[in-house]
């Protein structure tokens, strides 16, 4: 028993204890994050579902109804809970913004990875990073002072609407999509490009036929991330979209998004009332949408690996 070597081997060393402690710490962090995510889900879901369980709203009517005024009741005494105008508005600005942003993002990313010198690339990199860092209230303010009058003078209407919202969002999602596209272009193996050039393809042919194609899944992921960012943006959009809970008649008429209605209404309602529960239902839709965006990213990623 008193063999010192045997003792040493059999007892736990300092390094092993560190190992165990380290593993314990990481598990602890993971558990904490899991608890936070889960409790957010449970909280939002329980509040959001209350509209349908406690206030007896019809889920289908909630999704397809066009009349939103949760604090008032209609002729039959039911609160008016039609979220379609906001859902349409949210999808409208998101999709338009991404359509605007994608060509610019891909162009910028190609320039940064294929064309620019090391210096030019560094400068562009910091420009893109700067765009990420600008607070959304600043974007909103610029939108209100520049984009809204511009849209009003060139396209007509009051200037507030989906078009203005998506122009502001375009600038906001541009850095996200760009930097992720850059990453996916850099991830293309070097020998793809070398082989293509060796076969006598020009730079443009290489970019178009080889680089972009093998980076497709990465670029799609970047676009979905851009969409998720646009979908969740509240403040900047709220300042330029007009916030009218009406079905948008076009790109120039005032509309509203899920987030803009949420930020405006949540302080004016009292926990547990229909008006408040209805807002939580909107929040639940937002949460589910971001979940869906995440799942889509996963699916694209898996497909990309198979290729």
């Amino acid at each position: 028993m008193d063999d010192p070597i045997k003792n040493k081997i059999q007892s736990t060393s300092k390094e092993t204890r560190q190992d165990i402690l380290g593993r314990f710490l990481t598990y602890l962090c993971i558990a904490f994050i899991m608890i936070v995510v889960l409790s957010i889900f449970v909280f939002v879901a329980s509040k959001g579902i209350a509209t349908f369980t406690v206030n007896k709203a019809n889920f289908w009517e909630f999704l397809t109804g066009k009349n939103w005024n949760p604090t008032a009741t209609d002729a039959s005494g039911k609160p008016m809970l039609g979220a379609l105008p906001m859902i349409t508005g949210s999808f409208g600005v998101t999709i338009l913004a991404v359509i605007f942003a994608t060509p610019f993002a891909i162009g910028t990313a190609l320039y940064m990875t294929e064309v620019a010198s090391k210096r030019g690339e560094k400068i562009l990199q910091s420009v893109v990073e700067l765009l990420v860092g600008i607070p959304s209230v600043v974007y909103g303010f610029i939108g209100l002072s520049v984009v809204v009058p511009l849209v009003r003078n060139h396209f007509g209407g009051s200037g507030y609407g989906i078009l203005s919202g998506s122009i502001v969002l375009f600038v906001m999602v541009l850095p996200t999509v760009t930097s992720m596209t850059v990453d996916s272009l850099r991830a293309v193996p070097r020998y793809y490009k070398e082989a293509s050039l060796a076969l006598g393809a020009t730079k443009w042919q290489t970019i178009y036929k080889v680089l972009l194609r093998s980076a497709t899944s990465g670029i799609l992921t970047a676009i979905i991330f851009g969409m998720a960012r646009a979908f969740g943006e509240a403040l900047a959009v709220q300042m330029v979209i007009g916030n009218a809970a009406l079905m948008p008649k076009g790109l120039l008429s005032s509309a509203s998004t899920l987030t803009s209605v949420l930020t405006m209404g949540i302080g004016n309602t009292v926990m547990g009332t229909v008006g408040n529960n209805a807002l939580w239902s909107l929040a639940l839709i937002l949460l589910l949408m971001s979940l869906i965006f995440n799942i889509v990213v996963r699916l694209i990623g898996r497909k990309g690996r198979l290729d």
Partner: protein, 299 residues
């Protein structure tokens, strides 16, 4: 309502340990300024109305300078948040632009109302519209959507762009109870902050909205209604009908720290100084009072 509050205030004030001298019931404010010079300690959390927030923040700053043992936190969040948080006991004081009786989901009988200021609101239009005065029924027709062009009310041939406040906000509730006469406003754009609305009206041709007096700058046109100009003096006599109290609600009677802060808010130092400087109307200048149903009586 107001009398009740006052009587309650006086009773609490006279029983509170920290109040040195007795109150004459007509003027609780003069004694309260002496209360704030004694040592009080405690923690006060105030949440709610963003319209009242700047005043309370400033007052809290000054109050804490005199009473270093009191710790006051002031947050926005909106009137609904203020009322529900104070009702649940999460905060000491809930600020609200509207009477607790008017907020759904709030048991007003549990809360004690402390009215600390009055805010006047006025319809504002873009300068382009060419209108300076409307009748009350014209204003109502504009907001219900019956009138859609400024030339129908004597202005330029220009489309009216309605910018409303979100339903449930205190400003909108005040405006609607004074103007809309029970009719529903047309669905339109909504914006929730005075500052943004002011900017939007200034730059959107044909737009109309309403703002608290303190946000009316020279780049927007305030409207007179039936020839009555939106001035503080007209509010105090109720000639100008669109105004509301700023309430600070406590759940039951306030504790000593909250009590001395509320007294400080109502003291002549704040009422004649900060309240005026920040564009509110002092509660002591009011010649009339309004109850929670909007009924106005002489004081």
């Amino acid at each position: 309502m107001k009398n009740l509050t006052k009587i309650a205030t006086v009773i609490i004030a006279s029983t509170a340990l920290l109040v040195g001298c007795g109150n004459s019931n007509s003027n609780s404010s003069s004694s309260s300024s002496s209360a704030s010079s004694k040592t009080v300690s405690g923690k006060i959390t105030i949440v709610g109305s963003t319209a009242l927030q700047p005043l309370v923040e400033k007052a809290a700053e000054n109050f804490q300078a005199d009473n270093s043992k009191v710790n006051i936190t002031v947050q926005g969040g909106g009137s609904g948040t203020g009322l529900s948080q104070v009702q649940s006991g999460a905060v000491t004081i809930g600020n609200s632009d509207i009477f607790a009786e008017k907020q759904s989901g709030i048991k007003a009988e549990d809360l004690v109302d402390h009215q600390v200021a009055v805010v006047g609101m006025t319809p504002v239009v873009n300068k382009d519209a060419g209108v300076k005065n409307v009748t009350m029924s014209q204003l109502r027709d504009i907001f219900t959507g019956k009138v859609t062009n400024w030339n129908q009310v004597g202005g330029k041939d220009e489309k009216i762009v309605l910018i409303n406040r979100p339903s449930g906000s205190g400003t909108r509730a005040t405006f609607e109870s004074a103007v809309m006469n029970g009719q529903t406003a047309a669905k339109s754009q909504e914006q929730d902050s005075n500052g943004t609305v002011q900017k939007m009206i200034a730059q959107t041709p044909g737009s109309i909205s309403y703002l608290a007096f303190s946000y009316v700058k020279s780049d927007v046109q305030a409207l007179s209604i039936d020839g009555v100009a939106p001035t503080d003096a007209n509010v105090t006599t109720n000639k100008w009908k669109i105004w509301s109290y700023e309430h600070m609600y406590t759940k039951g009677k306030p504790d000593t720290a909250a009590k001395s802060f509320l007294d400080y808010m109502k003291s002549s130092k704040v009422q004649k100084g900060l309240v005026k400087d920040l564009g509110y109307i002092s509660i002591s200048n009011m010649k009339v009072q309004k109850d929670s149903d909007g009924k106005v009586t002489d004081k």
